[in-house]
């Protein structure tokens, strides 16, 4: 009887183990036939209004900043507006020139070029988060860099700028240097942030890392990188004069009706409206105001000066 109990227990445990083993397999797989295939063709959508943000940052940042505006415009105008992402400033300009970008959001220098080279026309510009209709560049160094305290101290130093076409990140500071008698040849090295995208941030990172003595950025960039580096480690040596800010422009020959719809929608954005506020905050401005091409003549003047003294 005892032996029987023993054998029974043994058998029971073995059975449990077998059951356990049997149950240890995953769920039954779903059968999929891989033989039923299709050829993928890139979808070319018609009647798209393309919206491009000058790639001073990464595409991801560009997307983060402007996809809500694009969505807003789509909803407000009913137009099939889509954001596109040029890799470089030149590409951005080229795409405006060849009609691949219908709505350009760019700095005033680029706009001046777009207007002069490709007949783009400004129809609105932004008011910055600091409630400024105009913007400026900043010259920065490491906080602990005792050798640089004034613009004059920048002579013989290494300089990293955003891009040759960047207004706040190169041209405005260069104009400031020129006005202070400091020219490109006075710097030990002038470098530009590697592309594509995130160039403003890369300048800050390079200075923060000590790779370059000074850097030039658009005002507001430090806020962008505030969650990635300790911004108190960076000191602003000087700010450039204010110039008209970023501008919305259209390529040549865009339907004026479309321009009007978009302009109206942009001008209607109200920072105090609950539903508009996140859109504007993401885009890093608080308002869009109407604009015209002649408002950018100071830029044209600065550009001419820089070109002459180049």
């Amino acid at each position: 009887m005892k032996n029987n109990n023993f054998i029974f227990s043994y058998f029971l445990i073995s059975l449990c183990l077998c059951f356990n083993l049997a149950c240890s397999r995953d769920d039954r797989p779903i059968k999929v036939d891989l033989n039923e295939t299709m050829h993928i063709k890139p979808k070319i959508e018609q009647n798209i209004i393309t919206y491009a943000y000058l790639p001073q940052y990464s595409h991801t940042t560009s997307y983060k900043r402007h996809h809500q505006i694009v969505k807003y415009l789509r909803e407000q105008t009913g137009l099939n507006i889509k954001q596109v992402f040029p890799d470089t400033f030149d590409q951005h300009m080229a795409m405006v020139g060849n009609g691949k970008v219908d709505i350009s959001f760019s700095n005033p220098f680029i706009y001046v070029k777009l207007a002069d080279q490709f007949n783009a026309s400004a129809f609105a510009r932004i008011v910055t988060i600091q409630d400024q209709e105009k913007f400026r560049g900043q010259i920065i160094c490491r906080e602990n860099n005792k050798n640089i305290k004034t613009l004059e101290d920048c002579r013989g130093k290494t300089w990293i700028a955003v891009d040759k076409t960047s207004a706040g990140g190169y041209l405005f500071p260069l104009g400031l240097f020129y006005s202070n008698g400091i020219y490109q040849k006075d710097f030990k090295e002038i470098a530009f942030a590697p592309g594509p995208g995130a160039k403003q941030e890369k300048v800050v990172f390079a200075v923060h890392a000590g790779k370059y003595d000074i850097g030039t950025i658009r005002e507001g960039t430090l806020n962008v990188v505030a969650n990635r580096i300790k911004t108190s480690d960076i000191r602003v040596i000087a700010n450039t004069p204010l110039y008209p800010g970023w501008v919305y422009a259209t390529r040549k020959n865009l339907d004026t009706n479309i321009i009007d719809q978009i302009k109206t929608a942009l001008l209607a954005l109200d920072f105090n409206k609950k539903e508009d506020r996140p859109v504007l905050e993401a885009a890093d401005f608080i308002k869009v105001i109407s604009s015209e091409d002649q408002e950018f003549n100071p830029i044209r003047k600065l550009a001419a000066e820089l070109t002459v003294r180049k």
Binding site: L17, L21, S24, D27, D33, T37, M38, I40, F85
Partner: protein
């Protein structure tokens, strides 16, 4: 069919079997659990790896997807597949789950699109797929920018890597389990071997004991004994050089540290002794030593028990002899009234052996209704606790007996009855003597009365008879007076005869002792009655023994006996019958036997005992005085003989040895040469 015989395994093999089974079980459990855990871990690790790859890739795909950079996307998905053997495919879906780019060579498999979808707020989704050729874990990961899902990355991970790793793990786990089991089994074998060996030795010792062999040694011999450890040389110590018994089991050891007394008294102090601490083994060795000690004690106790048994046996024999020597029957019954001990007289009385009687009650032993009655008496004594005394009759093998029975309760100290002792004495002889004494006294009283009456009547009767005869001479013979006187004379003579009978009964008649031939006496009597009986067709059939000695006695009285018996026979027959007369010599008892039989109506059983009583008669009024057989009995007794009567009617179912005759009187008389008349 082969005859299978179940072989009971030895304890040692049972231990090994159980141990090995448990190890197997443990190993299997470990194997399965470890395998399962490792397999799950492997799958989990694989999943994590796939998810990690997916997260990286989806991050890298953000910008190409945003810019719809097909080249970059294609490069990324192709590189991902190329760099990993087990990544089967990679593809990207746009926001509307339309395939954008993929790593397949021959077109995109449409069915893959919807088999796995990642829910909103989930980081990934896993699906187990069977493509027909491969088993694939499909992972779907969202491509997210600023909380906006701009596409979905799908990665197909072949299970081959997991299966290979799992197989390898299973093999390693299996081999390690087997190795562990074998090592554990070997260790267990080495560990259990001494234990099982000791248990087997103990078992064999127990078997030897069961077979009656008490000369066994279960405990192993020690390397060092107490005299070695204590450096002792006391040869008188019972433990000295006693290698078979530990000193703490030995009483009367002489060591200074030892307490006096046996094991129970000394063990507490022994446990503190260095001999105990050195020599005491594990529980099994202790068990073996205890077993040896118990066997030793058992041996001593058995020896004592045998002596006691012999003593008890002697006492029992003696007691039984005494009991059996008693003429009284004695029995002992338990509280259920069952016989638990009896003596020989009881067996003789019941005609059964001890074996037949013991364990039974009186109801089982005796016929109904006696058995039930006896049992009731037993129960009454057991219930009341009061003795029971009675005289009763019973049948034994020799016939009816008178018994004097005493039943006494056996009382415990508490007063409760635990059984009863019965003793019975055969008082049949006493009863007979008592009855005879009563009869004799009765006869003597009757005789004295009869003698007195006869003596007083005899004289006036003689005067009546004399005067009646004288008066007859004075009156004419034909006169009424003469007739009356004749009548007076006749009845006076009848009275005179009655008186003579009474006197004879009371033995007041003088006897004339002579030696005579019994046949002559019989013939004289028969010659007188032959004619008369012949008239009634009653035949007399004689059968004399030729060699018959003389009888010494009063021939006339003997003749009177014959006359009485013949008359009784004749009266019983009435008409048409036969009376048998037979004589024989019984040389064993030196006596002659005269048998007088008749074919009459016989005698009823109830009359048989009273037949020889005076004045008892079954004849009608005026036909008999009831003194004939009393006188006959008296005469025969006077001659030192015996008379008895047997009747067919009173024999009930017993066989009847006298043929056609119904009543037989048998007279035994001593022959003359040896016997004197009383």
């Amino acid at each position: 069919m082969f005859p299978f015989r179940r072989i009971k395994p030895e304890f040692r093999n049972q231990i090994y079997l159980v141990m090995f089974s448990l190890l197997m079980l443990l190993g299997l459990v470990n194997f399965f659990i470890v395998s399962k855990i490792m397999q799950d871990a492997m799958i989990e690790e694989n999943k994590n790896r796939a998810v990690s790859i997916g997260i990286n890739l989806s991050a890298r795909l953000v910008e190409p997807v945003l810019t719809m950079d097909y080249f970059s996307m294609k490069k990324l998905v192709d590189e991902t597949v190329r760099l990993s053997d087990d990544i089967y495919y990679t593809f990207v879906l746009d926001q509307n789950d339309n395939p954008v780019i993929h790593s397949f060579q021959n077109g995109f498999p449409v069915q893959l699109v919807h088999v796995n979808t990642v829910q909103k707020n989930k980081t990934f989704a896993q699906q187990y797929l069977n493509t027909g050729k491969h088993l694939v874990y499909d992972y779907a990961l969202p491509i997210i920018v600023d909380a906006n899902r701009i596409g979905t990355l799908r990665i197909g991970l072949l299970t081959t890597r997991v299966e290979k790793a799992t197989r390898r793990i299973m093999i390693i786990a299996l081999f390690s389990t087997i190795l562990t089991i074998l090592i554990a089994a070997l260790a267990g074998f080495l560990l259990f071997r001494p234990m099982t060996r000791n248990i087997n030795r103990l078992h064999n010792s127990a078997e030897q004991v069961m077979r009656g062999n008490l000369e066994i040694q279960s405990a192993p011999l020690l390397n060092k004994n107490c005299w070695d450890i204590m450096e002792c040389s006391q040869k008188k110590c019972p433990a000295y050089h006693n290698i078979h018994q530990r000193c703490w089991y030995t009483a009367g050891t002489l060591c200074k540290t030892c307490a006096e007394g046996d094991y129970a008294k000394k063990i507490s102090s022994c446990q503190q002794c260095k001999v105990y601490k050195t020599c005491a083994g594990n529980e099994i060795q202790s068990l073996a030593e205890s077993f040896d000690y118990m066997i030793l004690s058992l041996r001593d106790h058995l020896a004592e028990l045998n002596l006691a048994k012999e003593d008890v046996s002697k006492q029992k024999t003696l007691l039984q002899t005494i009991l059996d020597g008693l003429p009284d029957f004695v029995s002992l019954q338990n509280k259920n009234a069952e016989y638990i001990s009896i003596n020989q007289a009881f067996c003789t009385m019941t005609g059964k052996t001890q074996h037949d009687i013991l364990g039974k009650t009186a109801r089982d032993m005796f016929d109904f209704p006696h058995g039930s009655t006896y049992l009731k008496e037993d129960i009454k004594v057991l219930e009341t606790g009061k003795p029971f005394v009675m005289e009763t009759t019973g049948m034994d093998t020799s016939g009816k007996k008178w018994l004097h029975v005493v039943k006494s309760p056996i009382l415990k100290e508490t007063g409760a009855v635990s059984g009863l002792v019965s003793s019975g004495r055969d008082i049949s002889d006493n009863k007979i003597i008592h009855e005879q004494l009563c009869q004799a006294q009765k006869m003597e009283s009757v005789g004295q009365l009869a003698a007195g009456v006869a003596h007083e009547i005899n004289t006036p009767l003689g005067i009546i008879l004399g005067y009646a005869q004288i008066l007859q001479q004075d009156v004419e013979q034909n006169s009424q007076t003469f007739q009356d006187l004749k009548l007076i004379e006749k009845h006076s003579k009848i009275c005179s005869r009655i008186v003579s009978d009474l006197l004879r009964f009371s033995r007041r008649i003088q006897s004339t002792i002579t030696q005579f031939d019994i046949h002559n006496s019989l013939n004289d009597v028969l010659s007188m009655i032959e004619h008369t009986y012949g008239l009634e067709h009653v035949i007399l059939e004689k059968k004399y023994d030729a060699d018959m000695p003389f009888v010494k006695g009063d021939e006339e009285k003997i003749k009177q006996v014959f006359i009485n018996l013949f008359n009784n026979a004749f009266d019983a027959i009435g008409k048409n019958g036969k009376i048998g007369i037979e004589t024989s010599l019984d040389s064993n008892t030196d006596s002659i036997v005269i048998t007088i039989s008749d074919t009459g109506s016989g005698i009823l059983l109830k009359h048989l005992n009273k037949l020889f009583d005076p004045f008892f008669t079954t004849k009608g009024v005026g036909k008999g005085t009831g003194l004939g057989l009393s006188v006959t009995f008296g005469i025969i007794e006077e001659h030192g003989g015996k008379i008895k009567v047997e009747s067919r009617q009173s024999m009930e179912e017993l066989p009847w040895a006298y043929g056609e005759y119904n009543t037989v009187f048998i007279i035994t008389l001593p022959i003359s040469k040896n016997n004197e008349l009383k």
